[in-house]
Amino acid sequence: MKLAVLSGKGGTGKTFISVNLVNSLENTDYFDCDVEEPNGDLFFQSELVKELPVKVMLPSFDKEKCNNCRECVEACTFNALALVGEDMLLFESICHSCGVCTFVCKQKAISEVPKQTGVIEIGKSGDSKVVTGKLNMGEAIGVPVISGVLDLMDDTRNSVIDCPPGSACSVVESAQKADYCLLVAEPTSFGFHNFKMVEELAKVLNKPYAVVINKAESKNNIVSNYCKKNNVKVLETFLFDRKIAQDNSKGEICTSNNEKMKERFVSLFENINNDWQRSLK
């Protein structure tokens, strides 16, 4: 199955949950889609197998052929083009490489040139594939890198997708190919507010989903109360634990040396899998 691990805000423990799931399970690969700040491989320290460049296409204008008709400027949904006098300006950072400018140009004055915006690293850690998307510094659009990362999912194995925080385009791209969404929530006011946003996203995407509450001070908290009232499944609650936090900050994977934690992650995945199977019926 393909499992997307999401949260509304950063720092709730998406990577903690994702890395430990992959570490606890057989036949499971890890996909880091948090391409602006990928950090899962800090834990796996995987052996690098392959690097793939990620390229997008940008329009290039032939001044000789261009008759300043402006159809491309008008057609650009993102307002990435401006025509000042006879000079065409392209704002690369907001171009989404949709190709509509090339499509509408009757003069055939636009060609598309590739530009590298990131890289995908494929590593190996034990029997798991560790795939990390890295967006180049200064680039604004991570979707092409995320899409490239998810193309490497293997249907015969389990995939854990470590999503970016929030509920915007890059999260939609990361979660839309998943079979199931796991929402990691931190029971604080801020965490609760953003949890509800990402819950709404899971509904919009029409995915079965459940919640893991992380860094809680008690099993009864702002998120668990909401979930109880609204019939949302909470599959696991991890109470705040100083030792686990310290080990995590050193890049250690807690399920590697803590059998109890490993059992919890194995049963968490069983519960996810069972709930997913039920949702298929």
Binding site: F78, V84, F91
Partner: protein, 125 residues
């Protein structure tokens, strides 16, 4: 000379809009004919992104020489660059800002804003 001011309402005494790209309207003053015209900036106002670029394109298309605004992003300033000069608005209404400009009492806007999504870099001009 053509002077443009982003405004909140379609009237001379409107406040200057705090946003350049997402101003609802633009006031266009023709210094020779002494006329006040307005245009609806809704295409930029409703844009998902690139509102500043779109608004600046509309101004360039109207042969604007001077823009009086509180702020202007780097992308929009690139579109205006060489075509229109950008002056910093004072906290008085649009018409009074135009009078202040004509009297030589407005300063050039020397700070370009980095834009809401951090797409542009902050820079001093």
């Amino acid at each position: 000379m053509i002077i443009a001011v982003p405004v909140d309402e379609m009237e001379e005494n409107s406040s200057v809009c705090i946003s350049f790209g997402r101003a609802p309207f633009y006031l266009i003053f023709d210094d020779e004919k002494k006329t006040f015209d307005y245009f609806d900036n809704n295409s930029a106002f409703n844009a998902q992104g690139g509102a500043g670029i779109k608004a600046a394109q509309s101004l360039v298309d109207r042969n604007v020489d001077v823009v009086i605004t509180y702020r202007c992003g780097e992308n929009a300033s690139k579109v205006l660059n060489g075509k229109a000069k950008i002056y910093r608005a004072e906290k008085v209404n649009a018409k009074m800002n135009i009078e202040m400009f004509i009297a030589g009492n407005l300063q050039l806007l020397n700070k370009v804003s980095p834009g809401l999504h951090g797409h542009a870099q902050q820079s001093e001009k």
